[in-house]
Symmetry: D2
Subunit: 139 residues, 4 copies
Amino acid sequence: MTSPRPSQAELAAFLQAEFPQTRCTLEALDDDGSVVVAHPVGLAELRPGGTVSGPVMMTLADVALYVAILAQIGIVPLAVTTNLSINFLRKPRADRRLVARCRLLKLGRTLAVGEVYVFSEGEDEPVAHATGTYAIPRA
Amino acid sequence: MTSPRPSQAELAAFLQAEFPQTRCTLEALDDDGSVVVAHPVGLAELRPGGTVSGPVMMTLADVALYVAILAQIGIVPLAVTTNLSINFLRKPRADRRLVARCRLLKLGRTLAVGEVYVFSEGEDEPVAHATGTYAIPRA
Amino acid sequence: MTSPRPSQAELAAFLQAEFPQTRCTLEALDDDGSVVVAHPVGLAELRPGGTVSGPVMMTLADVALYVAILAQIGIVPLAVTTNLSINFLRKPRADRRLVARCRLLKLGRTLAVGEVYVFSEGEDEPVAHATGTYAIPRA
Amino acid sequence: MTSPRPSQAELAAFLQAEFPQTRCTLEALDDDGSVVVAHPVGLAELRPGGTVSGPVMMTLADVALYVAILAQIGIVPLAVTTNLSINFLRKPRADRRLVARCRLLKLGRTLAVGEVYVFSEGEDEPVAHATGTYAIPRA
């Protein structure tokens, strides 16, 4: 375990190391503990008709939750998702990145719970909303 | 809309056309309406430490639900996920495919609800369990 | 269906008529569409040890969602919950009312999705967070 | 903590002591670990139009999960629900009891996950399906 509050650069580096295939990028780490993570939208994310694939939004929500928790507890690679529930609200734009904003609702000793809003970049109305729970390994 | 009950080959072809990037494959379409969908597990699905990435399981669950619904209502590309909730139960094996078995709990005119068990191939205990809702477009 | 935007008094009256056994009360109906609903906490809501029963919080969340939707679409008694997911975050206080604040994330023609924060009255940290989906009957 | 595997009578007695207001009754405790819990349906559970109130089904699902976990881990009154997600599938009958069948999907050291099917007694198709997570206190 590293320092309890990693910097944005440390988190971004960890994200690349832990998920080498990820296309998610850490965009912001706010003082209030919320984080912003983005995902590009291109051919690999689109289905015929210009719909962004649901799993792309789930992936983004899961990574945003993970990063928000690590931003608080330090870089603990063993934290694992136990539950994720997502509501798909609107069709995302095919020509914009997806941007997720996550904040924690609870940070306990063994469980952390957070919520994530996913937007097409620059839009006001969310395209998806997720809540998730992570189990935090005992020290 | 095609015939209400597509064959396994028709569903498999649609899956490839609709999700050209997918690595999911349709393995079985049972008489009781349940479907089996698999996903390979290799370097692209693993995180350091040999954990299968959560989003891979979410993707598999989402595709299994979609296929199970299309198996009943016919190939309707506009059906969209409205909600997916997944519980991660055990660490999947790094050396086995993931196999999802989905059956529908409800098939209404506007909503379909299904549940999915995800296994490491050949194992008895599920690694994840999901429920999801799809909105069915009006004819 | 009555007028699209009922008053707080109309909603409160409907709540009593539709759920004659309910102990939930409508406290506020804000201009931005969010609603506040409360539930008393007394012997009937407590379990040994002073824990507020989980179903009380689920009931409150469900009613808050219902009222928030009716506040937008008018009093349509046939709207039904299709999905509710709740995370219990902290132990509520035994000596305070529960207060739920609900706002809608989406109001479509056939589905409405909202989120609810539940607090012990006067506290800053939520004791529970729920999201729910209601099916709206066709006109 | 009492013996790890309480009898049906011990569980029924605990249920009455822990939830003195409950109308849920323990009907069966099967060898495979699944439990059956029932709830009467009468004026207190019905809304105008003969619909069984959603919170009644949520309450029943929550109690069934709790009992299924206690049946495995012994009577540990501090186990608490952390998450419950329910899909409402069909309108229950107004003239039948609700019967919930719960089985555990995972029983870990700190978390237990189960699923619940809710039926109108004697019917084949479930009226609701829930999954829930309980946190198990450390010994």
